[in-house]
């Protein structure tokens, strides 16, 4: 077995090591595939579908699909741009994203992705869901109005912290993040030093006392 895989992304030849996903190979090659739920240090969840690329004519999530010899990957196409915009639009209308007073504004991966995709307003009707805020923990507050169900906190708490503080409950539009206690976050073993407290891409898991550290208008992530 060869120890190197060769394939193309948008016609550019890319090398991958066996076992690497399309996303990992693209990152190593300096080719950017848009993504939201993916976090390089966590098990890929493949849930947001923003990293969808076309592999030999079929849509696949780049964060979960292993690179294979000779595969032809399309990434930067008008159709995929539209697809990614639609997904991000849906994430905005399904939650309550009022960036204007959000602690993460300017340092939020969802917002940065929307800017990158040139979204001026979502095309779908807003849901205005009724979502809870849990500020019981002394160091952390949970603001589920902004949760995009990326699963990072779930995987980080389970795999890295060995705690399982977070998990998904419910299905479809009722799916939500729940904490592993009958009551609130303060009744779990969650600590502010946990990996799960560091990985939320949006303003859903927040450390108290750190708000508005990033000045207005200087978003740092996903800059072109």
């Amino acid at each position: 077995m060869s120890d190197q895989i060769t394939f193309t992304i948008d016609g550019v030849e890319v090398k991958a090591k066996p076992g690497q996903t399309i996303m990992q190979a693209a990152d190593d090659a300096g080719i950017y595939i848009p993504r939201l739920c993916y976090h390089p240090e966590l098990t890929a969840h493949g849930s947001c579908r923003v990293c969808t690329v076309i592999v030999n004519g079929k849509p696949q999530t780049a964060c979960t699909q292993p690179a294979a010899e000779g595969m032809i990957v399309e990434n930067d196409t008008p159709e995929l741009l539209e697809h990614r915009r639609n997904l991000v639009d849906m994430l905005f209308v399904e939650g309550n994203h009022l960036c204007m007073f959000c602690e993460r504004s300017g340092n939020c991966e969802l917002q940065a992705m929307a800017y990158r995709l040139g979204i001026l307003a979502p095309k779908y009707p807003y849901f205005y869901p009724d979502k809870p805020v849990d500020s019981t923990h002394k160091d952390i507050f949970l603001e589920l109005n902004r949760c995009i169900l990326c699963g990072r906190c779930v995987n980080a708490s389970k795999d890295v912290d060995g705690k399982g503080v977070f998990d998904f409950v419910g299905r479809s539009i009722d799916k939500k993040i729940a904490v592993n206690s009958d009551k609130n976050l303060k009744d779990t073993t969650m600590a502010v030093t946990d990996k799960a407290a560091q990985v939320c891409p949006v303003g859903s898991i927040n450390k108290k006392g750190t708000a508005f550290k990033i000045p207005y208008g200087s978003d740092i992530e996903h800059k072109k």
């Binding site: 960036c99 990158r116 040139g118 001026l120 307003a121």
Partner: protein, 181 residues
């Protein structure tokens, strides 16, 4: 040739986006060369005097008067633009959107900790526009042609959009000036 006309309105907004219009600084002199202002709080013209090229809407629709004004703008303006987050997603006024209207009014006029209201009345004079069940983004009420996000929409995005549209150019806003906060 007569200059094209621009009209503006603040619905359920805070006038911050109108402040941003003024925030284009000395370019306001250029703007006055390019356009005449029609119905707008800037010149205090209350009624449309004719067809307008562009209507700028700040704020979403929180009451029936907001809806009437918005519909009137749609009738009179060739291009209608939602300016700012309130027009686009309701923003702060829309925080009431997942609380029943009755509860909101009772909290504001009867139960709130700082309320003094010995008659225990909730205002219902027929002169007052009725509150809608929730706050609606403008594009859920009438067709909106363009969106300029921001809270407030910044002066740069307003200026660049106006200049492009008044010159019949496509709206190709640079990455750096698109902000939701």
């Amino acid at each position: 040739m007569a200059k094209p006309k621009v009209a503006t309105a603040s619905l359920a907004g805070c006038f911050g986006c109108h402040m941003s219009i003024l925030d284009i600084d000395e370019r306001i002199l250029k703007l006055i060369e390019l356009v005449d202002f029609d119905k707008s709080p800037i010149d205090d013209i209350k009624k449309f005097t004719g067809r307008c090229a562009i209507g700028l809407i700040e704020g979403g629709c929180a009451n029936e008067e907001n809806v009437h004004v918005l519909q009137e703008f749609r009738e009179h303006c060739d291009i209608l633009i939602s300016v700012g987050d309130c027009a686009i997603n309701g923003d702060i006024p829309a925080l009431r959107n997942n609380i029943p209207l009755k509860e909101c009014l009772e909290e504001a006029y009867l139960n709130g900790p700082s309320v003094y209201n010995p008659e225990k009345t909730i205002p219902n004079d027929k002169e007052l526009p009725l509150c809608l069940d929730r706050v609606y983004p403008c594009h859920e009420v009438v067709k909106i042609d363009y969106f300029l996000p921001g809270c407030p929409a910044n002066a740069e995005i307003i200026w660049q959009a106006l200049v492009a549209l008044l010159n019949n150019k496509p709206l190709d806003l640079p990455y750096e000036i698109i902000k939701y906060d």
